[in-house]
């Protein structure tokens, strides 16, 4: 079979692969290659977003002093290495933009949905491999355009990742013109990429499940990625529409969000958060799915309450569309509306606690193996609990009135997106690295990476709760300007130093990743003794994945089945020994 003759047709079989180099590694339609491409891209953007955070933390910890090595920055950003307020606002904006749109979202959906869905459901590839390729290649111009903002006149977008109108509408207010337009175009292209991916994930899970892979035998990671794709499909077009209107306001002179022409600034917030809240769940649900797989595997026990786990994912996703107004309690929106959004927001605590207690139930009476992915999954669980509980404070309208737009919110979102999403992403990378590259990562380095990250992560983000309770506003260039914030400066210094150490703690990961990529020992077929279908094929799996379409006989969490010789029972093994006796 040649590449020209539709490499993804129904007759695709694993095995001989004579695609030309360019179609194999660059413009590939193979979901595994695309997943790995997303991995490299999102980790690069993660590093960029992290570096921006370091500069932000320098300014907050040591306001007005030159950033070490900052003298290489142009005068428009940091004359003599001292950050300008305009550059600070740009950094805050782009840190959020890069982390959310170009790092965490592609890291969780781009990487794991692409790589895992076909392998875990027993499919040869995605339903629409060419759309899938487009989904990746659109991310390159999107990220590049967003980054280009730093190098145009006026600098990059500086109105926050939330781009509140009318601040984002006009260069009159920020001094930024081209940068904000580039931001809009970048996010619109990102939206297209995300939609193409989502359509693909949904179609694949619905249509390409192997015989016997019923809905209630799907791994929770696949369930989570599937529901995430539905969320993205419904939410991202709203964002794109809102940004197209913003772009029209900027370049065509319309007044969608400008009150001077009859527009309404709050319209932007309603549209943005109608996307923005589901987006938070787009960033956390895949993490929950990955962690569910890893915790069951590490505990050598079936997942506790599989059915309620599935319904909890659906419940979180459904409620996610009814809570956007909790970002707007003090926005000037009708206070009665605030009350209804408080009620719906509080309800999210219910499916969320179902998940947390079920993970604990999974570990209860288990035989817990502390492998590196499991450590990161435990990190996820313990940190996500903090992020979830701190969310209750801001769901309560009167308390939110005080802590809204303070560092309490910054602490909360980082407990969810770093403590939650990123620990899960690390768990996923450590877990499926052997599958992706056929080599094992170094165990000791992985443990050091987890331990140091866990400690410095908490030292960085926990004190932010205290700053927020002291009233410390977010997106603030120089807190020492305020008499009531100046006494809290030692906390800011402590947070900044911890943040630098947190960044340094990623070095073992980077070294481990690249060293293992080339020098790691060859991975056995099923290093974690897992039940899921991807561990029945060689690592890395051949083009087309399965030589023969597998048949599925049971769910993915049959660990420690009584009477079995081993403590795991793969999904495609015909019948357990004890049933053969029947």
């Amino acid at each position: 079979m040649t590449a020209a003759a539709a490499p993804h047709d129904a007759g695709l079989h694993a095995g001989h692969d004579d695609r030309p180099w360019l179609r194999r590694y660059v413009f590939s339609t193979d979901h595994k290659t695309i997943g790995i491409q997303f991995l490299f891209l999102s980790l690069t953007f993660l590093l960029l977003g992290g570096l921006m955070a370091m500069v932000i933390r320098w300014q907050l910890g040591f306001p007005g002093t030159p950033v070490p090595g900052g003298s290489i920055l142009p005068d428009a950003m940091a004359p003599g290495g001292v950050i300008r307020p305009s550059f600070y606002n740009a950094l805050v904006t782009m840190h959020g933009t890069f982390m959310i749109f170009f790092a965490v979202m592609p890291l969780l959906t781009g990487v794991f949905a692409n790589y895992l869905i076909p392998l875990k459901i027993g499919a040869p590839d995605m339903a629409f491999p060419r759309l899938n390729m487009w989904s990746f290649w659109l991310m390159i111009p999107a990220g590049t355009l967003a980054l280009a903002g730093f190098f145009v006149e006026g600098g990059s977008a500086a109105s926050g990742w939330t781009a509140y109108a009318p601040l984002s509408n006009s260069p009159l207010y920020t001094g930024v013109s081209a940068g904000q337009i580039l931001w809009c175009v970048a996010i619109i292209i990102f939206g297209a990429s995300s939609l193409l991916g989502s359509v693909n994930y949904i179609a694949t899970v619905v249509n390409l499940r192997a015989p016997g892979m019923t809905w209630m035998r799907l791994p929770l990671s696949v369930w989570a990625l599937f529901i995430t794709a539905i969320l993205a499909l419904l939410a991202v077009p709203i964002l794109a529409g809102a940004i197209i209107m913003l772009l029209f306001d900027q370049v065509l002179g319309t007044h969608f969000y400008l009150p001077t022409g009859g527009g309404q600034p709050l319209l932007w917030q309603h549209l943005f958060w109608f996307f923005g809240h589901p987006e938070v769940y787009i960033l956390i649900l895949p993490a929950m799915g990955i962690v569910s797989d890893v915790i069951a595997n590490g505990s050598r026990k079936p997942i506790f309450g599989y059915t309620s786990m599935v319904f909890a994912i659906g419940g979180i996703a459904g409620l996610g569309f009814m809570v956007w107004g909790h970002h707007m309690f003090v926005s000037g929106m009708n206070p009665t509306l605030g009350t209804s959004f408080m009620a719906s927001t509080m309800l999210i605590a219910v499916p969320t606690s179902i998940k947390v207690f079920n993970w604990l139930g999974t570990m209860w009476r288990g035989n817990i193996h502390f492998h590196v992915p499991m450590l990161n999954a435990i990190g996820f669980l313990s940190m996500f609990v903090i992020g979830g509980l701190s969310g209750i404070f801001m769901a309560a309208t009167p308390v939110d009135m005080y802590i809204h737009d303070t560092y309490f919110i910054v602490a909360h979102i980082h407990y969810v997106l770093f403590g939650g999403s990123l620990f899960a992403a690390f768990a996923g990378i450590y877990y499926w690295f052997p599958k992706m590259f056929g080599r094992e990562m170094h165990d000791g380095l992985g443990r050091w990476h987890f331990g140091l990250t866990f400690v410095f992560y908490n030292l960085t983000f926990f004190p932010m709760h205290l700053l927020g309770l002291g009233g410390h506003m977010r997106r603030l260039y120089d807190p020492t300007q305020y008499p009531f914030l100046a006494p809290m400066q030692p906390i800011n210094v402590f947070v900044s130093v911890s943040a630098f150490l947190l960044m340094a703690a990623q070095l073992p990961f980077v070294w481990n990743f690249f060293w293992s990529l080339f020098r790691g020992p060859k991975a056995p077929l099923n290093p974690w003794r897992d039940n899921s279908l991807e561990w029945t094929v060689p690592s890395p799996p051949p083009h087309g994945n399965f030589v023969e379409t597998p048949t599925v006989y049971r769910g993915p969490y049959e660990y420690s089945v009584p009477g079995e010789p081993e403590d795991f029972l793969p999904q495609d093994r015909p019948a357990p020994a004890r049933q053969e006796a029947h």
Partner: protein
């Protein structure tokens, strides 16, 4: 070093703090139970030779318990919050005797128009100040918030009050200071390059102090805008506020 909620200085701030502490105790308890349980499981069920994990798929009673308990708790919290929220934000519950104050904001300045002795806005004796607001302790105030350019946010940490100021809208917020002193007023919404220095001071006077200050202003509003710190210097400013 101060690292906790500043001393409350408004009539409803105590209620806000009470809800905060209720949530803190409940979440603190849940935190200890969950993280404690996690730790116990990690130690007790760690891998050991000869151990086999229990083959359990779930337990419906347990699922019902940990669905119901959080639901009851959050409904209770929502009801508690609702009462305070409507006191603070619902225009139907605003005190009728509140003294109006005009707050007009632009990048990066607060402009306050305070009524003169006649207690009304829009008359000749209005007092105009940039970045400083003068109030009498124990009186109700209704600030009418308008913005000239972008969204700003009217935030007085000691009053526990935050309200965005949106161009094209006039939003009213009320409060009653209960402590005298000087308190910080900050812009809490990113509003541009000078956002970080968009601050003002709220001076809460005793009735006598305020009368002295008001008399010292004398001239009508139109003449006042430039006068700022000079008049303040001669005044005995109480600094009993808890924010410093």
């Amino acid at each position: 070093m101060h690292w906790w909620i500043p001393t409350n200085a408004s009539s409803y701030g105590g209620d806000v703090d009470r809800i905060f502490y209720i949530i803190l105790y409940i979440t603190g308890f849940v935190f200890l139970v969950v993280e404690g349980g996690l730790l116990v499981f990690l130690v007790r069920y760690r891998r050991r030779e000869g151990r086999t994990a229990a083959y359990i798929h779930g337990n419906n009673t347990a699922e019902i318990i940990w669905t119901t308990i959080p639901a009851v708790i959050v409904v209770m919290l929502a009801l508690l919050s609702q009462k305070v929220w409507s006191t603070v934000k619902d225009p139907a519950h605003f005190p009728a005797d509140a003294i109006p104050i005009g707050v007009h904001v632009k990048q990066f300045e607060w402009q306050f128009t305070m009524p003169g002795p006649d207690g009304k806005l829009g008359t000749d004796d209005d007092i105009f100040r940039k970045n400083e607001l003068h109030l009498v302790v124990g009186r109700n105030y209704a600030v009418q918030l308008t913005s000239q350019d972008v969204i700003h946010s009217f935030f007085i940490p000691a009053f526990r009050l935050k309200q965005d100021v949106v161009p094209g809208m006039t939003i009213v917020a009320w409060f009653r200071p209960i402590l005298t002193g000087a308190f910080d007023l900050a812009c809490a919404q990113l509003c541009g390059v000078g956002h970080y220095r968009m601050q003002a001071t709220v001076y809460v006077h005793s009735a006598e102090d305020f009368a002295r200050w008001q008399t010292a202003q004398g001239a009508p509003a139109t003449a006042a805008p430039v006068a700022t710190d000079t008049t303040m210097g001669s005044m005995a400013m109480p600094h009993s506020g808890g924010t410093r």
